[in-house]
Subunit: 113 residues, 2 copies
DNA sequence: AAATTATTTAGCTATTTAGCTAAAAAGACT
DNA sequence: AGTCTTTTTAGCTAAATAGCTAAATAATTT
């Protein structure tokens, strides 16, 4: 279960327009499933999400995007996997699922008060 | 439906330890259901959540708590209702529910990719 | 009308954040 | 070895944030 500190970190990470958009892009970009574990490791599609690919969708300098990605990774809502000199990025479904359950529980529990 | 700007605002509001704790306190404090609309207006319990009551749970000055509450209200995740010279505070269940559904949808949709 | 209670506003300071450019690091390719 | 690609680190600045105290506002009570 996510502790409070982890939750606050996630909210802080998503509480910035640029990072929110990056996160959304990673989640819904279509090319996001670059290296998921159910596939053989060398099955990486051409447009797989790496830092540069993501940065192309934004009007900020590459290091800025790199820093934002670091923050999303520190909050554990994305994963970054190095393969050769690129870094492949995916959403961390498990954590997002946990967060989702937190909210569901919060709302459900409140109905009992 | 919550638009992006609203979501970012909510995340920013919850992405601070103090505000997160305040929010949690409002949600789970037990005295939170002070003036819900299903009850007659004068049925306000003695310990109903008002700014001072909340502030008592924290080691920060009252104006600091007041500002944090304003931010939670601006993010629309709590309501603040003035009655005589006190302000009664409650979670905004509708918005929290919407947020909850967002996450559920995000996770569910991703499974289809 | 004066005092008390509850809350916000104003104005300050220290810290953090978000952006930038330039340079460094780590691999891969020729 | 040298070059190209990908990403991070360093170091800077402007703006935002989170805390404080003192003062203002608004309503109630005496």
């Amino acid at each position: 279960m996510l502790n409070m500190e982890q939750k606050v970190k996630i909210f802080k990470a998503l509480g910035n327009e640029t990072r929110f958009k990056i996160f959304k892009n990673i989640f819904t970009g279509g090319y996001a499933c670059s290296i998921d574990n159910t596939k053989p490791k060398d099955d990486i599609i051409a447009q797989a999400t790496c830092v540069t690919t993501i940065a192309e969708h934004f009007d900020f300098a590459l290091p800025t995007i790199s820093r934002h990605l670091k923050e999303l990774r520190d909050a554990d809502i994305i994963t970054m996997t190095k393969k050769s000199n690129k870094i492949y990025i995916e959403p961390n479904l498990d954590i997002v699922k946990e967060l989702s359950e937190c909210f569901t529980k919060l709302v459900d529990d409140y109905k009992l008060i």
